[in-house]
Amino acid sequence: MTNLTKLADSLQANEISILKALKKHGQARHNAELRAETNLDQSAVARSALWLENKGLIIVKETKIEAVILTKLGRHYVTEKLPERKLIDALIAGVTADKLIYKFMDGKEFNAALGYWRQKNAIIISKEKTELNDVGLSYKNKKTIEENFIEKFNSVSELLIANLAPEDKEAFERLRKRGLTASDTRVERLFGITDVGARVADAITPEERIGQLTPAIIKSGEWQKKTFRRFDVEAGVPVLAIGKKQAYVRFLEEVKDELVALGFEEMAGPLVESSFFNNDALYMPQDHPARGIHDIYYVKEPKYGSLDAHKNLLKEVKAVHEGGGKTGSTGWQYNYDEKEAARLILRTQGTALSARALANKNLKIPGAYFAVARVFRPDILDATHLVEFNQTEGIVLGENANFRKLLGLLAEFAKKITGSDKIRFRPHYFPYTEPSIEVDIWSPALNKWVEALGAGIFRPEVTLPFGVKVPVLAWGIGVDRLFMIRENIKDIRQLFSQDISWLRERKL
């Protein structure tokens, strides 16, 4: 199949009519002409012409055109006789001019008509009467050039000045002076056929092609007798907005799946917590600097929750804080305030969930738990600070849990979750773990070390009040940062992006 026939086969019915019309005429056509010749409306012509132009079959040029249109008064005379005709008809019928004014026309029209014939030397005007001479009488059955011109508007609403015959041009000028016609200048599209277009027009076969395949066509078998119009499968189409997972939620889902695969069970807990589970149970003293109003959101009302369900635990934690309790620790050496323990706050750390897990009577040993926890910190929202964000934290409990196994676990996290083999361990301080370490991963993208994980072994001051006698490895992953590095996000607020286009455009 040649390219010409392929092209011919791909044309829609409207495109075919336009192309044929242009071919037939051979010359460039105006929009109005094309509309008249194809019986298509403005938008159909425009749309099809664009397709044809894209295929190189026609050229569309924009030109400035001047058209003649009738004024309101002018349109009146398309159906009514012009004053000069009224006058001549009346005179032939023997009506006297003075009567004519009152019966048939107003004074202004009468004067115009009189002037018209006078200029043509077709009328004799004396004191006694007004009558036509031979010239005038010759117009009895002959139309004036003005009449011929105006009649044309019976079928069209405008005429192009460039196309006017000399006689019409004269008529137009005269009528313009009389306020019956006007010209209108505008930019119009001129459609012309290209050489390829002309050849494609020749290659068009008369048979009707199938456009949209319909159930009726399939059922009737009509498709067996016809050919299918070819579609331009290479042409662009409008973007389809599909539903997508929020990119960061999707990343967190991946992290959760990795953790489950490693043997971790997911924990859950409330967003509003007691200071007890958020801090005290993690051996953070009640006057710890990170417990001030600049670091924790306090609940306005109710101020206090209830620790009645944890009376025993509360007693143990109090003893540990005050003097170490039965843990062999010196404790923090201060008077522990039970009321302050019940103070309600917005959870500030995912570790609160680990405390909840340790308090759970269904706690398994050996056990491994994790949570992706929404946490809250008083801050001003900016490119590097969020007022709420997600922390991924967890614990491993077991008789044989130890520091080297913790390092092994962290190395595995780094590999599975960050995809990094190159890691380094650094000593660190966390109030609830000892030893504590921080893990940096090497980011080839940033060409530097990035803090990615924090971990340690829970202090006995943390675990023993819960009655947990085995070592508990605790860890946290800086998932926000890892995601930002992976997606090359510079502004942390984008994790909670409110830009629908940005969300729609995310790559999986």
Binding site: G243, Q246, G263, K364, K405, F425, S436, Q498
Partner: protein, 551 residues
Amino acid sequence: MPNIDVSLSDLKKMVRPKMPIDLEKLEPYIWMVKSEIDGIEGDTLTIKVGDTNRPDLWCVEGLVRELRGAFDVEKGLKDYKLKECDYRIFVNQKLEKIRPYIACVVVKNVRLTDQIIKQIMQQQDKIDGTYGRKRAKTSIGLYDFDLLAWPLKYGITKPDENAFVPLTFTEKLTPKQILEKHPKGLEYQHLLKGQQFYPIFTDAKGKVLSMPPIINSNDLGQVNEKTTNVLVEVTGTDYETVNNVLRIMAMTFADRGGELYSVIIDYPQRKPDVTPQFATRHFEIKVEDVAKLLGENLSAEDIVKALQRARYNASEEKKLIHVTIPSYRTDVMHVVDIYEDIAIFHGLDKFRPEIAGLPTVGRLSDAEKLSRKVRELCIGTRAQEIMSFVLANQEYIFGNMNLPADRIIEIANPVSFTYSAMRNWLFPSLMEFLSKNTTKEFPQKIFEVGDIVVPNLKSEVGSDTIHKLAFAVSDTNANFTDAKQALQAVANGLGWKIIFVEHEHPSFIAGRCAAVMKDGKQIGIAGEVHPKVLKNWGLEMPTVGFEISLT
């Protein structure tokens, strides 16, 4: 986590004067004291000290003390010589309820350069600020010893007596005026709020040294390059903390060449104290316990060596290690603190990570499993998932939604109004999202699976956290059917039987809103958003949606 600035050349000279240290090599050693290099500018090194329980490290002298161990320049306990004297301070009993404790040391023959004074000021500032809880728990004062007449008196004053010239001022002010006029008085006046008497520190001639914890006297309470003999005083509300701060300050002066002289604190109703106190503590640890926790069979010799590098004294006797804890190591509360130092000073890089695999079976929570199904179904309707903040405000939740105000969990100390409460329903979050996208392509179909919080006085945390799904469609011809169809599709996908019952809700158009029922209970709401609500959010597009509970 305090940031401290130190002179790099000073630090290097003090750590290892004979052998230069390059910066690259220095960094891992800084890590050994749980600190990081935060920046370097010229000779100034900014160190972020990570351990909030070790104020002894918040000065160059303290860092050097540890680093000399880490670099194997020195090992074991550093001995601080103290000459016993009878410099005496009398403490007034009425301070018991104001600021009861004081500890002092006299330092003689110290050479204070401008740089050392700057370091000491920084140390004082960091300790007062963080460890001293902004002077509430402890505060430090320094005085020119040569100007003082002994014995001294830590007493009380009425607010309008004992006027003195405070630091940076030229005229005398009464304690009351100081609290009202002096910048430090204004900053710390809350610490003395409601007190009839204020603490005052005076000498034998009645001259004022300071008004703890507010301000020193301009006459006696200043040290400069010409000062060679110094009195260091710490007052506070916690006995142990006061003594620890004094100890750390004394060590700093001793490390700079000062000689330390003890001071007798004469309390009214207890045995006199002699300060500073350098008493050590003793722990015994078992080699096998260290091995068990660290997972590495360190020998007794390894352990002793590591401890000595960490500036403990340690010796072995029959697999039992006797450890002497330096007096300033108040952070050592339990043997695990010692185990950690063993790990660090043995060298973290010597521990091979052991990848063992967990013996447990992993599992997603039921809530997560359900939310994944729900999200999959929503995406199937071609909706875009969004994630928004739980934090919101009254206006978003009620005003904009055309609802009367109701009880929600509000924040007592919000930073901004925008985030001053927790949302009690999800739909306002979707409306906020749509309001930010009015110029973007429509239709906009969005959903969120997220948490909301409602007050519940019966709960131990005064509230319930509830997992919900909200869904919205915004389009030129969106109507109730769109919301109902989507919810029906989600419910069908979950195998839920839900019923729609005519319902009135001010956020939705009357007659185009339904309560969503499951098992005879309302689990949510669906409807066409009321034009009033749309207008409140600046939306001009018809919007419909639903919200259901997943908990």
